[in-house]
Amino acid sequence: MKRSALNLAGLLVAAFAVFPVVWMVATSFKTTPEIFSGGPVPFPRHPTLAHYRAILSGDLIPGVSFLDFFRNSVVVAFCTVVISGVIALLAATAVSRFRFRLRTTFLVLLLVVQMIPLEALVIPLFLMIQRLGLYDTLGSLVLTYVGFSLPFAVWMLRGFVAAVPVELEEAAAIDGASRLQIYRRILFPLVAPGLVATSIFSFIVAWNELIFALTFLNDQSRYTLPVAMTFFFGRDDTAWGPVMAASTLLTLPVLIFFLIVQRRMVGGLSAGALKG
């Protein structure tokens, strides 16, 4: 095929892929008359922050500022990342530093549980949260998201741990370092980049999640950003400016983080699927 035809096809694909994102951001900066002018304006002619101000100030929905939902989402995502990072690091060390009887079983288990349709678990988890008295708390979400992100986090981290040469640890051991010291001074700093990558995935899981948050939260003040968006904008679809501004705010951190780690995802897939 001619190069120019290929390039044209490439541009079309790029346009299709990126269009909704561009449209979302562009709409969020348009003035209300531009949005409702009846003819689409590709880019805001008079860029305005009015929609952002409206959702953050609480003028739009009296007494409701999206900053609160932002804060809830950040708290939930942060706790999820920390807890699942610690637990995953321990487990990843186990599977990549030791040979033990249940090792393969454990790895297969990690794979299988990732395929469980989480949506189907909403009913039994609702029961569990009710019984633990965690209904309508952010803790219920942290607990759930740690469970959801953990199998993948361990799966991903084990490669990073394995990449740290054992000799380093052995040398430290000979020099008389305790296990805890080896862990803290040698393994941890070397695995840190992997831990960051893993944390980003846990963050994205927690940040984007809708169904469980929708089910476990009741009081408006505890809504996470996704729940707030479906709650305030789901029924009345006319305020597209603020909706797109909120969407942009929710999307932005994910886009940034995702772009940081995407190489690992792609490389990882080919490594897993092709070798052996």
């Binding site: 095929m1 190069r3 490439g10 694909v13 790029a14 892929a17 909704p20 994102v21 949005i35 002018s37 009846g38 637990i87 321990l90 186990a94 030791f98 454990f106 794979l111 395929m115 469980i116 349709p117 189907a120 909403v122 009913i123 609702f126 029961l127 569990m128 009710q130 759930t144 740690v146 993948f152 991903m156 084990r158 490669g159 054992v166 640890e169 296990r179 995935f201 994205i204 899981v205 984007n208 089910t215 996704p226 968006m229 479906t230 789901g234 909706v243 969407s247 929710l250 999307t251 995702f258 772009l259 690992r264 995802m265 792609v266 490389g267 990882g268 897939l269 080919s270 490594a271 699927a273």
Partner: protein, 330 residues
């Protein structure tokens, strides 16, 4: 995953070295201790609930007080299953789900593979640009991506409505039987609803396929394809005789993963339909949810539907794990 950040279960930056001698000669209890917290979390939050949906599906649960354990659970046996399996509505939902998943897997795979092949053949800069744009679609959260598509299809000021209005009236009337599209409910008829949902899902999932296929292509020895070209094989021929057979394991896994994801679509549907009221467009995942949580709640019946969905997905997962185990020693 519930959030549809399409994560690959198989992401290892490098192939892990086989566990080497460690600083503790005999591992003893330490690895089990390290593994314990993870195992506890997985058991409590994934495996136990998985068992619980089966248990719940055998009871008549219709109030939160039962769920809290304040009232007893009346045993229902297989009544919940009998109820859904004989219900024509459930059969319709099941048919919707299967057809939707098949159509979406097929479309996603075809488009994704084509884009992967395209990225492989583009010049370096162009490939980086297109690849970056494609990643953006992949990274966009399901929720906000869907909300934006909903805005694009808005019935008064949406871009699509505007485009259809911009068609010459005569042409529009001849083709679709109407020339004024303002106020046209794109999400009202099930067929048009499912078409838009397909568009949203394919838009969101083709990047993962494209990027994976591209990674596979990059790992192939380029001599093979060149030799085929020298021998006069066209792109079609060399794809089916060389690329596809060599990448069969990759395609296998991608099809299975896509099938799993497309069977349990929830967020996109919930947002496009504006909640759980639009019964004609139900699929298993949202049907189960709506049955359990829309008043009057029927947790037992919802659990039974979830069990059906889970069984379907576990069968697909079985295939997936077998393929993986065949390819990779863990």
């Amino acid at each position: 995953m519930s959030t549809d950040t399409r994560v690959v279960p198989d992401v290892t930056p490098e192939r892990p070295a086989p566990p080497a001698r460690s600083w503790s000669r005999g591992p003893g209890r330490l690895p089990y201790l390290l593994m314990l917290p993870c195992l506890l979390v997985i058991t409590a939050l994934l495996l136990w609930p998985l068992g619980q949906i089966v248990v719940m599906s055998l009871y008549d649960l219709d109030s939160v007080r039962q769920v809290r354990g304040q009232r007893e659970w009346p045993w229902a046996g297989l009544a919940n299953y009998r109820e859904i399996l004989t219900d024509p509505f459930f059969q319709m939902v099941l048919r919707n789900t299967v057809l939707f998943a098949l159509a979406n897997v097929a479309l996603t795979m075809v488009l994704g593979t084509l884009v992967g092949l395209l990225l492989h053949r583009l010049g370096k800069r162009m490939a980086a640009f297109v690849g970056g744009c494609v990643l953006l679609a992949w990274a966009t959260p399901a929720l906000t991506g869907t909300i934006t598509w909903k805005w694009i299809f808005d019935d008064t000021n949406g871009l699509v409505t505007w485009l259809f209005n911009a068609l010459p009236d005569g042409l529009s009337a001849a083709l679709f039987g109407r020339s004024d599209w303002t106020g046209y409910g794109w999400f009202n008829a099930p067929l048009s609803f499912f078409s838009i949902l397909t568009l949203v899902i394919v838009w969101h999932s083709f990047p993962f396929i494209a990027v994976s296929v591209l990674a596979g292509l990059k790992s192939l020895p380029s001599e093979l394809l060149e030799a085929a070209r020298v021998d006069g094989a066209g792109p079609w021929r060399s794809f089916w005789s060389i690329t596809f057979p060599l990448l069969r394991p990759v395609f296998g896994i991608l099809v299975v993963l896509s099938t799993i994801w497309d069977f349990k679509v929830f967020t996109q549907q919930y947002v496009l339909a504006g909640g759980t009221q639009d019964r004609p467009t139900f699929m298993l995942s949202i049907y189960s949810y709506a049955t359990a949580f829309s008043p009057p709640p029927k947790y037992g019946l919802g659990a039974a539907i979830a069990v059906v969905l889970t069984v379907i997905l576990l069968i697909v997962t079985g295939v997936y794990v077998r393929t993986l185990l065949k390819q990779e020693e863990l």
